[in-house]
Amino acid sequence: KSCQALMIFLHLVLICRNYKGDVDMAEIDHFLPLLMTQEEEGLTCPIMSHGNVHFLWIKHTNLYLVATTNKNSNASLVYAFLYKVVEVFTEYFTELEEESIQDNFVVVYELLDELMDFGFPQTTDSKILQEYITQEGTKLEVAKTKVPTTVTNAVSWRSEGIKYKKNEVFIDVIESINLLVNANGSVMSSDIVGTVKLKTMLSGMPELRLGLNDRALFALTGRDKGKTVTMEDVKFHQCVRLSRFESDRTISFIPPDGESELMSYRINTHVKPLIWIESVIEKFSHSRVEIMVKAKGQFKKQSVANNVEVRVPVPSDADSPKFKTSTGHAKYVPEKNLAVWTIKSFPGGKEFLMRASFGLPSVENDEMEGKPPITVNFEIPYFTVSGIQVRYMKIIEKSGYQALPWVRYITQSGDYQLRSNF
């Protein structure tokens, strides 16, 4: 149904697991030539085929993870699985790279066996896998004579018998702003992608309930007090009871132990761009480029944006940079063709200016260059742009302990692009 075989390789096959045996493993030899042809044409595609064999691949650092199939497989499942493999291996070996695979090939084989059987993904939760597939093979004999019941449980993400002295749960609400502004300054699209991350340090099998100021919830319960937020779309971790959420908007779950991403949401409401950029880029052919960038903090005065980075594209043949900034500092990153202006702390309502000038060679580079946008990175703590708030986190465990929830809010830049007209 999904894939016949999985391989990981860079220029050579590092590891290969043939799950179904009906695709000839020699077929993989066609993969790299195909990929190279596509790259030459500038038209890569994540699905390629050679004869009856289809290659679905992703690239992680310099490694290719390739699944092969000769059936009408579920493509989205295959990609989701490949990314899961990267996640699991990264959690096991910190880095997924050539060496970590060579160094751990026995575990890698074991993992590949548990992750997928006959093309069907099986257990892919690395925390659970770590309970019975460990890197120290020798310990195995003693400890792992039993399958953790978690593997097949309905609660397949949390083991029983977890104990903490102090029961706490940390909640991070992180909102990323995606913004696309046209060269003439009009906002083409803007949305907020929020995530709620948990760091759970709770004993036993706690039942949690998270309350947000979600408008739909309040509409349902009829207790519309204060500011509410409409979430366009919500995605939940495996642990959240989806049908319950569907029926009464209650977010109830038994959390995975440790760190996890509980949910993500998308909000379409149009917000004022938090950091607004105006730029004038004047190019004097054969002599110089003059850049003037004005950055304005369009958020509350009490808040401060940290580590603001305004990245302004410059022509690839620019040289001899000169900068002048009203605050922060600017530098030229020639390998990326960028002028980067960094402001450590940017209070709301303030406006700053940066001027830069670059020399241009008299013999012009006649290669067409793209028009990369200006991008901005920033982070505003203690603040969610959507106004979403955690109203409560109820924690119930049969042993009846008291646990404390801690909440942090942060707003940051996501894909924040302003097209320039240079």
């Binding site: 043939n18 992703i58 497989s73 074991e110 097949t152 699209s189 949305d191 998308r266």
Partner: protein
């Protein structure tokens, strides 16, 4: 494998105490060493050795020689070691089937191990050993594992059934494993249920018509319950399985949808997409006036949009699917245009897909924004993306009428950039805009013409030529422009050639007086000098049209063209339905049915959306759409299979835009044209000679009004070859060669006497000349030329008189002739006017050639074709002749005639009279059919000739007479 060796040689994984050290020890000769280590008594050493073996295997070394030694290590209580040995087994069992049997006992034993991990490991590995011989030993252990107390073992065993089925389907059925598997759907453990569903679905795929999954409301209910509890992957298995079910009515459909919608909130994109598949399929059954239908539509949009924040590869799959969904139910995403705006850092495959969806979603409401975006993209650097963006602007113009003007001006701005590929794309789409809005934007033609020189891509050249032809009457120098293209006619691509042909014909019809020469030139280029059958066909057809009925030609060539519709590249509805049933799969990414790329799936039933049932049936009112999604009623776009039929082709729609053509036009002129042409087409099917002879006939007949006679022509030469019906090429008897006669007496040519004859030798027509010098001085510098003649005869080379011809000397010269010279009808038909030059003067004479030398070797017609053609040629075209005093029997006559490429196809004897049916093909493709009646004892034969060009009959008859009597 070479790469493996390289890996070992190039890399030295070294000193670190990690697994990589095992890779260093596989040098030549180590196999022996490994063997010893594998047989060591020390557990640790054994394990190390196995690791080394696996390391070698990983890099592709053949370590199969160690099979027995490794299998010996199988019986161990060390789980890690066991796993490694099993891994080895999976790899090499197939190549060592006999030795694999050794492993069976251990498997059986391991399946009873107290440790469930070992039981599961055994059952998992068992299924991967694709050796027929040992599978039957594995049935008992598998049966036990399917009923194991531990769910981990059961879920593994469930998959094993699918594995075993893949190796030996019959065995699995005989052993009743399928029933056990079905029972597992009711298992208490969700993961077991999920794997059972996955295994059953997999097996069902190879038995498309078995009701293996036996989906019924009860089992569906079980699946829906398990859906809430199993892992994300299990959810996908179950959703994909649900998608195969067809609910009994709309109520059941709704209740399933209600239970599936929560999955749209799952973090895993694949779960979401599988849920979308189920919903898209089942909502087909819901009445559109149902509130729930509207709710469902609204619920689908947000998760689809969110998929665009997934990893790029998943975005790509999502976009390909959204493309389908937008075609099926445009109302779902019609307000979501912005999310498809392209980001600078999107991978190219994402960019191109987004662009496609943007065009599909473009409407009057959002067109301003869309255009601004497209213009932005058109100034990017990525050529493919830029091209597509420019094309998209054209598609917007066609789709949203109100925006057409803005689109055109945007395109003109882009043309001003002078970026070569931008200009070319712009011209291609402007042509489509002209098609869609005739007589509206022609003011821009001047600008377009300025860029003529920069066009180097066939599609752009063809588009420009189309524009010039179409608007020839408004472009003063249209003839010059077209003529400039004509110079390199043969270097152009077919697309351009075809377009140039049509454009010049159009020009001619619009401005006949000044362009006669041009049209002659292009027609002869297309028909005589081209090897391309399409081009020749079209050339002939135009030729015929122009020479028979210029008015009809005008009606056909300049007919009002059907408008092109905005529904570009729509997927044909039945395919779309099928693809909707395959959302998330490769089929949905390729936009092709699985049968197109999966081997052995051809017989498999195509998936279809369920029909709407219950209250909604047949009662859809047009404004339901409004109620549901606030949208205009969905107008089902009608899609006509893309052009390519003769009619479309003739209407010069080959350039027709990336769009499908509109409804068949119904102007009477067109239809007449169409009928006529189709008649010709029919001929070609029946007689194997498209247009050729009719055109000839027409040409020979009524004096052409428009065309100079010379145009009536070499018609058919090419076509004849094309429809080569494969007669015998051999020549059992020599062809008839008439005796030499004096063509030019010496007194008329200052002492040069020329006599000669014509012959056909091995398919080559030859003029055999005898030159005699009856003068007193030496003759040199001979040359020969023919006047235009009926069959385009021309010298194929110079007259080879190499030495000077002295007084009283005679020389015989053989001159090969071709039939591709200029054509003019002569009277008599076989008359040839010749000019011979020497150092003294130029002399003229005329001679007649036997038409039999034009009979080609492949003139044997198929009997069926003969019959049909005979019937098809009107009786008026039949001529009868008598051949007197011929004393051959029918057999001898037939043989003799065959020597001159007159082929007997059938013979019938009726009342002592032999009827011979014969066919002849002339070098210009004209077919002559003959019926020869020979009565024993009667020296007089009767011959009936039927031909589409009856003028030739007389000459043919003469040949019969000459051949039979000599």
């Amino acid at each position: 494998m070479e790469w493996a060796n390289q890996l070992c040689e190039n890399r030295q994984f070294g000193s670190k105490m990690t697994d990589s050290k095992y890779f260093t020890t596989t040098k030549k000769g180590e196999i022996f060493e490994l063997k010893a280590e594998l047989n060591s008594d020390k557990k640790e050493k054994k394990k190390e050795a196995v690791k080394k073996v696996i390391a070698s295997m990983t890099v592709g070394k053949d370590v199969s020689a160690l099979f027995p030694d490794v299998v010996n290590c199988m019986q161990t209580d060390n789980l890690e070691l066991k796993k490694l040995v099993y891994l080895y087994l999976m790899n090499y069992a197939k190549s060592q089937p006999d030795m694999a049997i050794m492993a069976v006992n251990t498997f059986v034993k391991d399946c009873e191990d107290p440790n469930p991990l070992i039981r599961a490991l055994a059952v998992r590995t068992m299924g991967c050993i694709r050796v027929d011989k040992i599978t039957e030993y594995l049935c008992e252990p598998l049966r036990k594992c399917l009923k194991d107390e531990d769910p981990y073992v059961r879920k593994t065993a469930a998959v094993c059934v699918a594995k075993l089925h893949d190796i030996n389907a019959q065995l699995v059925e005989d052993q009743g494993f399928l029933d056990t598997l079905k029972d597992l759907i009711s298992d208490s453990n969700p993961m077991v249920v999920a794997n059972a569903v996955a295994a059953l679905s997999e097996i069902a795929e190879s038995h498309p018509n078995s009701n293996l999954l036996d989906l019924n409301p009860q089992s569906i209910n079980k699946l829906l319950t398990a859906l809430n509890e199993c892992t994300e992957w299990g959810q996908i298995f179950i959703l994909d399985c649900l998608a195969n079910y067809t609910p009994r009515d709309d109520r059941e459909s709704q209740s399933i949808c209600e239970r599936v919608t929560p999955r749209l909130s799952h973090a895993n994109s694949a779960v979401v997409l599988s849920a979308v598949k189920v919903l898209m399929k089942f909502m087909e059954m819901l009445p559109k006036d149902l509130d729930y239908y509207g709710t469902l539509l609204k619920k689908l949009a947000p998760p689809l949009v969110t998929l665009l924040s997934a990893e790029p590869e998943l975005q790509y799959v999502a976009l390909r699917n959204i493309n389908l969904i937008v075609q099926k139910r445009p109302e779902i995403l019609k307000h979501e245009m912005k999310v498809f705006f392209v980001k600078y850092n999107d991978p190219i495959y994402v960019k191109l897909e987004k662009l496609d969806i943007m065009i599909r979603l473009a409407s009057q409401a959002n067109i301003a924004q869309v255009l601004a975006e497209l213009k932005e993209y058109a100034t990017e650097v990525d050529v493919d993306f830029v091209r597509k963006a420019v094309r998209a602007i054209g598609r917007c113009a066609i789709k949203v009428e109100q925006s057409a003007e803005r689109c055109v001006s945007t395109l003109l701005d882009l043309i001003q950039t002078k970026v070569n590929y931008v200009v070319q794309e712009a011209i291609v789409v402007i042509k489509d805009i002209f098609r869609k809005y005739p007589n509206k934007y022609e003011s821009v033609i001047a600008t377009l013409c300025e860029n003529l020189d920069s066009l180097d891509e066939p599609e752009a050249r063809a588009a420009m030529i189309w524009i010039v032809g179409e608007y020839a009457e408004r472009i003063d120098n249209a003839d010059e422009l077209l003529e400039s293209f004509l110079e390199g006619f043969h270097d152009e691509s077919t697309q351009v050639q075809l377009q140039l042909l049509t454009a010049i014909v159009k020009l001619f019809l619009k401005k006949p007086t000044e362009t006669q020469e041009l049209v002659q030139q292009v027609l002869s280029l297309a028909t005589q000098d081209s090897d391309n059958p399409d081009l020749r066909d079209r050339g002939y057809i135009y030729w015929r049209l122009l020479s028979t009925d210029p008015v009809a030609a005008k009606e056909v060539v300049l007919a009002e063209k059907p408008l092109i519709s905005e529904e570009t590249d729509l997927i044909e509805p039945t395919l779309l339905e099928e693809l909707i049933c395959h959302i998330g799969t490769l089929a949905s990414v390729y936009h092709k049915p699985p049968s197109a790329f999966v081997e052995g799936s051809r017989g498999v039933m195509h998936k279809r959306l369920p029909a709407r049932t219950g209250s909604g049936e047949g009662t859809e009112c047009p404004d339901v759409g409004n109620a549901a999604g606030g949208s205009a009623p969905e107008a089902a776009p009608s899609i006509i299979p893309s052009q390519g039929d003769l009619l479309g082709d003739l209407l010069n729609l080959d350039l027709a835009p990336p769009t499908t053509t509109g409804p068949t036009p119904s102007t009477s002129g067109m239809q007449m044209g169409g009928m006529d042409l189709l008649g010709g087409g029919l001929d070609s099917l029946l007689g194997g000679d498209i247009g050729g002879s009719p055109a000839m006939g027409a040409g020979f007949g009524a004096a052409p009004t428009v065309m100079p006679a010379s145009l009536n022509a070499p018609v058919g030469g090419g076509l004849g070859d094309l429809f080569d019906l494969g007669g015998g090429v051999g020549m059992p008897m020599g062809a008839y060669i008439p005796p030499k006669t004096v063509w030019l007496p010496a007194m008329k040519a200052k002492g040069l006497e020329i006599s000669g004859t014509f012959a056909r030798r091995a398919g080559v027509i030859q003029m055999e000349l005898v030159l005699t010098n009856k003068a007193m001085s030496v003759m040199t510098d001979f040359a020969i030329q023919f006047n235009r003649n009926s069959f385009g005869l021309a010298p194929a080379g110079p007259l080879q008189v190499l030495t000077p011809l002295g007084p009283n000397q005679t020389i015989e010269v053989s001159l090969p002739l071709s039939t591709v010279g200029p054509v003019m009808k002569m009277d008599p038909l076989n008359n040839l006017q010749v000019a011979v030059k020497n150092n003294i003067d130029v002399f003229y004479f005329s001679c007649q050639y036997p038409i039999s030398m034009l009979f080609v070797e492949d003139g044997k017609m198929e009997r069926q074709v003969f019959l049909a053609t005979w019937k098809d040629i009107p009786n008026d075209n039949e001529s009868q002749f008598q051949i007197q005093d011929c004393h051959l029997n029918s057999e001898a006559a037939s043989n003799k005639l065959q020597g001159s490429n007159i082929f007997t196809i059938a013979k019938r004897t009726v009342e002592g009279q032999d009827m011979l049916y014969m066919s002849i093909k002339l070098s210009n493709g004209i077919w002559v059919l003959a019926e020869l009646k020979v009565q024993a004892g009667n020296p007089n034969y009767t011959i009936s000739l039927k031909c589409r060009a009856p003028e030739v009959s007389q000459c043919v008859f003469q040949c019969y007479e000459a051949v039979l009597k000599n």
